[in-house]
Symmetry: C2
Subunit: 580 residues, 2 copies
């Protein structure tokens, strides 16, 4: 797995494929690779939808191997949402498949001018790029069904829905899961719009005939992987909480902590919380039965198995089990306490190809603007349907919370660098506030998930309501996350890695035995720092300053019930996060 | 004229008036005063529509005196369009009237939360702030008619239309002219949205009982003013060109130079140019007759008299004679060569309270997005009407070209710092490109009108097609303009001031004799520099860097016909503009 598959979509005479050695990018995977390529090759002031932007799709260092949990795919570009560098990542099958095909990354470059829409088919025999007008404006579900009819049901698909074709800044890129459904999304930052600008509707991957990647030292690798699996299985979060309830186990936890953003970040607790909690969701799913009611993985090799399937009351498939962030964004944030409605919104988002966090936050802002009332379930569904239709209102909403706030003249817009905040109020979880403010990605919980030490008691304890220690917490997590995001590992391994030194060591041992390296924990830290350095440097050249590492004013002025607290980490502390 | 009238619209118990001495702002007027107050008092990271922003309305140093041409009004705030500091200025009557009432500035602060809409009446007896729900969503024309019915026809009115109430980023603030019509607009940067956020629909000014302001040395002042008038009258641009044809005299000139942006900055010449030129416009207006067909001033004391009145074919008043920038933005930029349609668009903009430059550029982008065809007159009118209705499409357009481009996924958007470019293509007039790029205001021709030396042969000659000398030209003009904008003088005096040292001296003599000062030309330069320094400093604290002092990429990549030239002033040169 070390070749770069570059596809110039704007080449004269039609798209042109070049396969090259990784060269200076040798040894990089996942986010380390996407951010290195973007930082080096993309002009920071280019238009995100222009020919000079690139879309880099990279499996992690351990993707395509037997390592458990190694199926995450990193997708990088200059973000149409933030204007800065972006890495969004997703589960599903494509990461393992691309890695097995021998590609360290697929790099989409240029921009065709002829109005064609393309699909790209990649298998062991090479790459085919085919214009296919019949795919235009298909939802991800219909698209994948059509492609399965054409290419069989062993494929992995990376695709965009209508939102990406319309180049909306909230457009995601869908990856198919183990059931070949388009449910796993690289959601954030409008990566789907960049794929749309490249006029690529779908990348179909078929790894038939390819084998699992082989480690240099098989025995050591197997041993490390065994310890790795044990470590993940024994940690209460990854071994019990997530497998039992999925990510939505957090609803009750965060609500109890008073950090559950409700009614567009107006309150910290939602009265309808128990109706949409993970516990209720599991009960409902179990009652409705179906083979998918038990949790399962989103990709081959997953042992946490926090995914599930959501059926309606008649047993019809609606969507994958909505994740905590989605249940929050379309639920409590909009005053909606109806799991069926939330599942329908999740399905619509996945089908149109939209980031559920951005869309839920956007509907919240739209509700503040009076386009629907908080709690108006049908109103929320109608708003998201507008996006799929591409009406002017849908175009506004599909460009995210910041644009929606601007267009409707709303002051309370929960974004940083133009990207909507996820499901933790930064006033009650001040550590995550530091991550929202300072991440190179815009507001992003996965960039440095301080909820761990702030709320969950994982990786130490830092009082969530006080500013002390938050900058250091966020810094360490951001560095560690940047490294984990480069391995292809699901970020949830961090729970076990943070609490169990031997589990962290087994991860390092896997990398070392696979590549014949002798990395230490310090080297992993150094990798994380180098990723962040590349990203920060790109953003600096794109015009970002410390002034962009700030939360919107209302978090510093409006005390959040029930703790009646404002975000009070100092600017000085925020500016210290990237000093190491 | 040295008191500050501060009105806290968000005070507990209702709006509260405070009149204070100018203190540290002593001796400042116009833009120098607005930018000093904004830079010092407004938190640079505040939300432009929030309580912390301020709207500062300031006559110039010589406003309200007998000095010819001294009726410009500066309006400053943090801009909702650019996110940076803003000074937009307008002609009309209010500047002279506010100055005669003894106010150096009206400062609107805070933000009421009760949903009321207010009018503010100011006369010699003081200030009344009255909630008046009957004014909601009135167009500027109906509004002024209503206020005339109530307060008589000797008033001056500063007001917003529906666009300002809807807090659109392209919303202007209207000032009434000598005919008490709302035709003179502080157009740029969304100042109207800030007035809307303060919930102030109109400021009615009645200067009955007040006298012209008296100079310290009347005789010297009169002598200086006489020379001033002579100087303006003898210069060919201010004495002949502008009085005869109005600003639209530029259409043929700029088109001939190949710098007339056509079809959203696709070409540098417009084939329908002669149909909408100043010469054709004057002919049409003369043919249609009416007392206003001759040019006249937009405010008392104007001797250039570049304004006019536009009647339809039946002799019905439509609007003031559309200015060059408006004729271009709604005309050639949109492929429209129909003066009646352009006049109707101007009227709609004025009535809704919209910046004609921003709106024309926005319609151009919308046409590029396929919402109407270039040249589709009725399509353009319909689009602007949407803005007045406040439909979702109207909300998009009313927030300007950058938002429209983003919402519709368009790459070719002619903005800098989010503000649309005026009527000179920066590829053919490279000096104005330097001003667009580097001005603290976003793309703004009035900030440093390099068209002078580039095209008009005024104030020297600098080859418009070459990068050499453009940075220095723009720097000197930006400094001079910042000073002129502080005097209350119409910027058109610059033609005479640049070419005739004795006319410049007479301006200094007027200030000196009026205030009892001994300023030199160097002091005037120092004033201009200090204004720019305040503005630059605010923008720096708001997060702007040199990376924001750049033109959109397509100006550097797409050669503009007929000269087939790109913008080629180096980044280094751009970054030198503020080094002095």
């Amino acid at each position: 797995m070390d070749q770069l598959l570059r596809i110039d979509m704007g080449a004269q005479g039609g798209p042109k494929v070049t396969v090259t050695e990784p060269g200076e990018y040798e040894g990089l995977g996942g986010r380390a690779l996407t951010s290195a390529i973007i930082s080096k090759e993309v002009p920071p002031l280019c238009h995100p939808l222009g020919a000079d932007n690139k879309l880099v799709i990279a499996p992690g260092l351990l993707s395509g191997t037997a390592a458990a949990m190694s199926g995450r795919l990193s997708i990088g570009c200059k973000s149409p949402l933030t204007g800065g560098i972006k890495e969004a990542n997703a589960g599903g099958q494509p990461s393992q498949m691309i890695a097995r095909l021998g590609y360290a990354a697929i790099v989409l470059e240029g921009k065709p001018e002829d109005g064609s829409l393309y699909k790209i088919f990649i298998n062991k025999d090479g790459v085919k790029i085919i214009p296919d007008g019949s795919l235009k404006m298909l939802g991800n579900y219909d698209l994948v069904d059509k492609l399965k009819g054409e290419y069989g049901d062993k494929i992995g698909v990376i695709s965009i829905g209508p939102a990406g074709e319309m180049k909306m800044s909230a457009a995601s890129i869908a990856c198919t899961d183990m059931e070949v459904r388009p449910t796993r999304h690289a959601g954030r930052g409008g990566v789907g719009a960049v794929m749309g600008a490249k006029a690529v509707k779908a990348i179909i991957i078929d790894d038939a005939g390819m084998k699992m990647r082989s480690p240099k030292d098989s025995k050591a690798f197997q041993e490390a992987n065994k310890k790795w699996v044990e470590g993940i299985r024994k940690h209460p979060v990854t071994g019990q909480g997530l497998p039992t309830y999925g990510t939505n186990i957090l609803t009750n936890v965060i609500n109890e902590a008073g950090g559950y953003p409700t009614h567009n970040f107006m309150w910290g607790r939602f009265e309808g919380c128990t109706k949409i909690s993970g516990e209720t969701q599991a009960e409902l799913e179990n009652a409705r039965g179906g083979e998918g009611s038990a949790t399962h993985g989103c990709h081959r090799g997953c042992i946490i198995r926090c995914s599930g399937t959501f059926y309606d009351k008649d047993g019809q498939y609606i969507t994958k089990q909505p994740e905590y962030e989605t249940v929050w964004s379309h639920g409590g944030n909009c005053g909606i306490d109806d799991l069926d409605a939330i599942a329908m919104l999740d399905r619509l988002d996945d089908d149109f190809g939209l980031d559920t966090i951005e869309m839920g936050a956007t509907v919240g802002v739209a509700m503040e603007a009076g386009l629907a009332k908080f709690g108006d379930t049908q109103g929320a569904i109608n708003l998201v349907k507008e996006v799929g239709k591409g009406t002017p209102l849908g175009r506004i909403l599909g460009n995210g919370a910041a644009v929606t706030g601007k267009v409707f003249g709303i002051e309370r817009v929960p974004v940083v660098k133009g990207q909507a905040m996820p499901a933790y109020d930064p006033r009650t979880v001040q550590g995550i506030g530091v991550t929202y403010a300072t991440s190179t990605m815009g507001a992003d919980h996965t960039a440095g998930y301080a909820v761990t030490a702030n709320i969950l008691g994982v990786g130490g304890k830092v009082d969530p309501l006080k500013p002390e220690g938050q900058a250091e917490l966020s810094r360490n997590l951001q560095i560690a996350t940047a490294a984990v995001d480069s391995t292809g590992m699901c970020l949830f391994v961090a729970f076990a890695v943070l609490d169990q030194p031997e589990t962290f060591q087994s991860l390092i041992d896997m990398i070392n035995s696979f590549y014949g390296l002798k990395l230490t924990a310090d080297d992993v830290t150094a990798l994380g720092k180098s990723v962040l350095k590349n990203e920060k440097d790109f953003n600096l050249r794109a015009g970002f300053t410390s002034k962009h590492d700030r939360l919107p004013e209302f978090f510093k002025k409006e005390p959040l019930p029930p703790h009646d607290i404002v975000f009070n980490v100092s600017d000085k502390d925020l500016d210290s996060v990237f000093n190491w």
